[in-house]
């Protein structure tokens, strides 16, 4: 029994840029029970369960019909799938058979039935253990999330995250809309990756519609993605820094925001990437200032990374990787700006039908969007922000650690709350 025999029996459905393998439920169950392919995304839509497996470069798309509204859970063999399975339960009412984690995700019992119910937490058992609650209102300027800590002195025995506070029902609002109208929701899922989400969404829409964007649009998208990535990386480093370093990293980020405003008309470049290309052309005269801002960010990130050995080894490695990503973003921008193609910056999107996947890198991993279009309108949509994979990981990584280290650990991952809450 191996992957080849499972896929050999699958019927292949057209999707772009790679096909969808439709499996009978028993083959889905076999695939779910065995490794080694990790989960990239998992979601339910109109009677089927879908998953993207493997690595971001060449993922495998599979789907299978639900049986009595249920499917075989992926999370026993792939713990990173837990949040996706919980989301699918709360959003679509589908059950993951055999899932070890059946806590709610975004359903806090505050729906239309008028019976508010405060979330239940896993009970603490054991001598000397106590629970501490943090959030959803906490910190100075932070996202809405609840940390429930089971502590043994200063040691974290268990971290339980209660998310879902920022659940705005983004997928439901996108369904039934044209790609152009729905792009505004993709841009507002999580603002720290607004360009990346807009890009993944637009790429999925263009793949489903079999459209290619003009070369100038592709080049300027790369410029924006690099600027956002560099800014996001140094913002994460800034949360790990303090005092003078924090101020220097903050100043570098501010320079990027100001240059982005001059080039693209918005400090975060929100709504600049749209299906079919760009919403507007850039101010070319301002591009050198953006390139200079990225060079500055690269420099300050590299300088900060030289202090990484002051941190815990796992966090130090992430600091090095983030400084490296800031350098890559600068190189990418320089390469694109060397030969910027001529206008136009957009093409009209035909009212096509089809299924498409779109990906874009972000500071916490690759973002994936899935779209099923019917005559240009969205019949099905899913957004997989890597935050969904990282939150279960944080719960596991925090256990056994010191409470003092949790803010650093959490910050080093570059997590997003709204990206997971949808």
């Amino acid at each position: 029994m191996n992957l080849k025999s499972i896929l050999g029996a699958a019927s292949v459905e057209p999707a772009a840029p790679f096909p969808l393998h439709a499996l009978p439920p028993q083959d889905w169950a076999r695939l779910a029970a065995e490794g080694p392919l990790p989960v990239v995304a998992l979601w339910a839509d109109r009677g089927r369960i879908y998953a993207l497996l493997g690595d971001d470069a060449s993922p495998l798309a599979v789907a299978s019909p639900l049986v009595d509204g249920a499917y075989a859970a992926m999370s026993p063999a792939r713990p990173e799938a837990a949040w996706f399975e919980r989301l699918a339960h709360d959003l679509q009412g589908v059950a993951a058979i055999g899932a070890p984690d059946e806590r709610p995700a975004v359903d806090h019992g505050r729906g239309g039935n008028g019976s508010p119910e405060w979330p239940r937490f896993i009970e603490t058992q054991g001598e000397g253990l106590h629970q501490a609650a943090l959030g959803p209102v906490h910190g100075l300027i932070g996202p809405a999330a609840h940390h429930r800590l089971t502590l043994d002195g200063a040691r974290i025995a268990r971290l339980e995250m209660r998310l879902g506070y920022t659940h705005r029902g983004v997928l439901g609002l996108m369904a039934g809309k044209s790609c152009r109208a729905a792009a505004r929701f993709a841009a507002r899922l999580t603002a720290d990756a607004t360009v990346a989400h807009s890009l993944a969404f637009a790429t999925a829409a263009e793949a489903a519609s079999a459209v290619e964007v003009p070369p100038r649009a592709a080049a300027l998208r790369a410029v924006m993605a690099a600027a956002e990535r560099s800014g996001a990386e140094i913002a994460i480093l800034g949360t790990l820094a303090s005092g003078r370093w924090e101020a220097r990293l903050e100043a570098a980020r501010e320079r990027i925001a100001e240059a982005a405003l001059a080039c693209f008309g918005h400090r975060l470049m929100m709504d600049a990437v749209v299906p079919g290309g760009l919403a507007a052309d850039c101010d070319e005269a301002s591009l050198p200032a953006l390139a200079a801002a990225l060079a500055g960010a690269e420099g300050i990130a590299a300088a900060f990374a030289r202090l990484a050995d002051r941190f815990d080894p796992a966090i130090a490695a992430r600091i090095q990787a983030r400084a490296g990503a800031a350098a890559e973003a600068r190189q990418l921008m320089d390469a694109v700006l060397e030969a910027l193609p001529e206008p136009p910056v957009s093409v009209p999107l035909p009212m096509a039908s089809g299924m498409g996947f779109g990906a874009a890198p972000s500071a916490r991993g690759t973002i994936w969007h899935w779209l099923d279009l019917t005559s240009g309108y969205i019949a099905g949509v899913f957004i997989a922000d890597p935050a969904a994979l990282l939150w279960p990981g944080l719960e596991a990584e925090a256990a056994g650690g010191d409470i003092e280290d949790l803010p650093m650990l959490s910050a080093s991952l570059g997590l997003s709350v709204p990206g997971a809450d949808l």
């Binding site: 806090h108 300027i141 659940h167 507002r188 999580t190 607004t194 903050e250 975060l268 709350v417």
Partner: protein, 168 residues
């Protein structure tokens, strides 16, 4: 130095006079609540607080405890899941207290207006004193908006000159 919009100040001053509420002093403490934000307003709040924009120079600072706060600053739509926490935070704040809605979502739901998972803008749950629109508003717009609250609150005679950075 940023200046508050005089028309906004006048309107706010009239409103505060009518309510009979006035905060003490010109140093105001802000408790921020993300009621369902994408994080964009938070990025710009952090920028407003940073050295480049220097919110603290204007006597405005963020605090952790709502019990120490004069201003409740709400970002994002109010989701069903955050409505209770938002009300509880306001309930923990001493009077007089003011509510500022920052960003298009907090103003009226923004692009999410009418969605079933949200209640709408901050005014669906709390009485809002000041709106600062934008998606997200820029740091200078946030500062100018908050300054209007400071100006309207402080009697003009007592107004000291704002402190400036030595090399700004």
């Amino acid at each position: 130095m940023r200046q508050a919009d005089p028309a906004t100040v006048a309107a706010l001053a009239a409103r505060l006079a009518a309510s009979g509420e006035r905060l003490l002093g010109r140093s105001l403490a802000i408790r921020h609540v993300d009621a369902g934000s994408c994080g964009g307003c938070e990025i710009e709040l952090r920028a407003a607080r940073g050295a480049a924009h220097g919110l603290a120079r204007y006597g405005l600072r963020f605090v952790e405890s709502p019990r120490e706060a004069d201003i409740l600053l709400v970002t994002g739509v109010v989701t069903r899941n955050m409505a209770q926490a938002l009300r509880m935070t306001m309930g923990a704040m001493p009077r007089p207290r003011f509510v500022v809605a920052v960003g298009d979502c907090a103003m009226d739901g923004g692009v999410f207006k009418g969605g079933p998972a949200i209640l709408g803008g901050a005014d669906k749950v709390l009485p809002v004193d000041l709106l600062i629109g934008g998606c997200p508003p820029m740091p200078e717009e946030i500062i100018e908006g908050l300054l209007a609250l400071v100006e309207a609150n402080a009697p003009p005679a007592e107004k000291p000159a704002p402190r400036t950075e030595p090399h700004a």
